[in-house]
Amino acid sequence: MKVSQGAVSRNRITMHRAVPYFFIAPAVIYIFFVTLIPAIMALPISFTDWSALSPKKNFVGFDNYVRLMGDKDFWKSCLVMAQFFIYVPIVLAAGLVTALLLNLKIKGVKLFRLIFYSPVITSTIAAAILFEYFFQPSFGLFNSILGFFGLKGLGWVENASTAVLSVIIFKVWKDFGEAMLIYLAGLQDVPSEIKEASAIDGASSWQTFRYITFPMLRPAHIYLLMKNVIGVFMIFQETYMLKGPLNSTRTVVNYIYEKGFQSYQMGYASAMSFSLFLIVLIITMVQYKATKLDVL
């Protein structure tokens, strides 16, 4: 049988288009079964009083959602979570400044990149245990530094008013390396011709950064903004380990964990999860509209 050249070419094009899907298929299948399906299954559970200790489930309609509306602890945990949004601009700024410094042609730059990125790949638990010691009021590193400059030590995690700040410091240290890496990649993509042209036109370094480099990093800004905003909604391990008094660091996810896995109120915990999902959805949509997203 003779196959026309056109058909062969079409087949090649089809194959060419299909290849990327083969590469992403394992991840998509994994996410679909391990994350998406369980997430969807949580919705019907949220309409029951299931304890997770037995198969018995009673349909309770919207009771869990009604209860949620009046649950002061839930709303307090939302407020705690909201405080963590301060972390987003800080981690972006820290990542950007470090990336700009490491984009310079200086000796040992690769070593510095490695050092600054290493917290990202360090276990959150191990790092948090270390920071617990750093935050110790009497003999911790941070108060020693404050004392060196003649400043009064803080209670850090042990004080309800500075506990969130402590966790933010830890989280910025842990995550800024990732922002640095993304910005570094973005900086490589800024065409040197444009910067050279601006220099010839007499632009100062600051003006070059302000009007050329910074705007051209827009895809990196948007990606990091969305990723870190969503990350704030998922803060759990950091606040599980560095727990402040009076529930000062209990985020929504910590509260969901308490209700689901300590109080065995899986129906109620599912209702909270879904409510949080709706909040995340709304905020993500707002972000999408506000940034006229073109990098997804």
Partner: protein
């Protein structure tokens, strides 16, 4: 539209991650972040079988425990001994980091894939028994009468539901008193004896406290409301914490409870002998910054390893009148509904035997639950361990032995110690939350 769809999927993924709940970290475990599985040579169905040739196929049991290096190593050795003594039973061990334990166990119970034998906090026994997720010990192997006769009541009472024993105790702890001998001697106090009554104890805590320029530099006592400590003093003051007949918490309605809590918190609130912003209490005790502590006897084994230079004394919890009553906390070995009764009970019996309990006490500082061991000369040869064992003579079961109840209690104590809210209001809130917790359907 496509972007919106991908946005929806992205948001769903976030919610999925949340609804599944981010994996809880393995706090304070030393067994590594990944659960280790150690399998013995046979894995078969959980029922004793006999093949055509008349040879018995060993029954296979699965066993889960929350992990720590010392416990894992010891349990592995114990299982080896058990299998040698019981060739008809094989045990498959699985050690799970403490932070992941309930997240792994609860779904397993819900989906009928729980191990045959496992550890749970003793406060969970009644809940799981009610759901039918666990079953009573096989009477023909361990009769209720023999358990009542052989074990310290406070160690096994919490493992009973509807008149039947559902498990045997492990990680049994009371509350004892520890003091830094050097700091006590410097303050001109008796470093060998320690305070005997609460009045003496509170007096010592004041004498051991030092400030410089209004700033705390040495704490007299690092008490911050740990539930078993407070339950102990409440009991000694004659307060009613939980009403067994009504099945409800009643502490907020009892003036004696209020009196006990006021006495317990006065050193912190009024005398300023400690401040949580000074140093974490056990870290401070190890560093020689805190004079007195109340804590579990497990610290007797822990401190020489974590603070080798610390010279400390151990005594019974202070007394109100003649009563040194101390609160017992424990976990329990239990078996799931699908476990082979006889084999699982034999394994639990072995784990709570004289010999095994003696080993736990010698190597980890856990207290023995068998009455016979309370007078064991070998165990009591170490004076510190002897005090810990003696504490069991005046002990009672703690009424806050689940994570949820402990969380509520910790919140309440934080509020009492760190805010100016009236104690009565805080106790009423906590009581209401705890009683709600009891109402949760199972």
């Amino acid at each position: 539209m496509k972007k919106m769809a991908s946005l929806l999927v992205a948001a769903a993924l976030v919610a999925g991650g949340l609804s599944g709940c981010t994996k809880a970290p393995a706090k304070e475990t030393s067994g590594g972040a990944v659960s280790q599985e150690k399998t013995t040579d046979q894995e078969k169905t959980a029922a004793e079988k006999e093949n055509g040739g008349g040879e018995k196929t060993p029954v296979s049991l699965t066993y889960w425990q929350h992990s720590s290096a010392a416990r894992d190593e010891m349990m592995t050795a114990l299982v080896k001994t058990f299998e040698e003594q019981n060739p008809d039973i094989k045990v498959k061990l699985e050690f799970i980091p403490e932070g992941d334990y309930s997240q792994k166990l609860i779904p397993a119970l819900a989906t009928d894939t729980a191990p045959d034998v496992f550890q749970i906090q003793s406060g969970m026994v009644a809940k799981l028994a009610q759901t039918g997720a666990i079953k009573p010990l096989a009477e023909e192997v361990m009769s209720a009468d023999s358990i009542t006769a052989d074990f310290v009541p406070a160690a096994v009472d919490g493992l009973k539901y509807d008149g039947k024993y559902y498990g045997m105790p492990t990680d049994l702890q009371t509350i004892v008193m520890l003091w830094n001998k050097k700091l006590v001697a410097e303050a001109g106090l008796d470093a060998e004896k320690g305070p005997q009554t609460w009045d003496e104890f509170f007096d010592w805590s004041r004498k051991l406290t030092k400030t410089e320029g209004g700033k705390l530099v040495q704490s007299g006592w690092g008490g911050k409301g740990y539930a078993p400590e407070v339950l102990s003093i409440i009991k000694q003051y004659g307060g009613a914490f939980y009403d067994d007949a009504a099945g409800q918490y009643v502490f907020a309605d009892d003036p004696k409870v209020l009196e006990a809590i006021e006495a317990y918190t006065a050193p912190y609130k009024t005398d300023k002998v400690y401040n949580t912003e000074f140093v974490k209490n056990w870290a401070g005790f190890r560093q020689g910054l805190i004079g007195l502590m109340l804590g579990h006897p497990a610290m007797i084994g822990n401190l020489p390893q974590t603070a080798p230079d610390l010279d400390f004394g151990v005594g019974l919890i202070p007394a109100k009148g003649d009563s040194h009553a101390t609160c017992v906390t424990s976990w329990g070995y239990v078996m799931s509904a699908k476990a082979p009764d006889e084999a699982a009970t034999r394994f639990i019996q072995f784990l709570s035997s004289d010999d095994v309990e003696r080993q736990w006490t010698e190597k980890t500082g856990e207290l023995p639950a068998r009455k016979a061991l309370l007078e064991d000369a070998g165990l009591k040869s170490d004076p510190k361990v002897a005090v810990a064992i003696e504490s069991l003579n005046d002990s009672f079961v703690g009424a806050l032995q689940t994570s949820a109840l402990n969380t509520i209690w910790t919140e309440a104590m934080d509020r009492i110690l760190q805010t100016d809210e009236p104690i009565e209001t805080i106790l009423k809130d906590a009581q209401s939350k705890m009683n709600d917790e009891l109402k949760n359907p199972v």
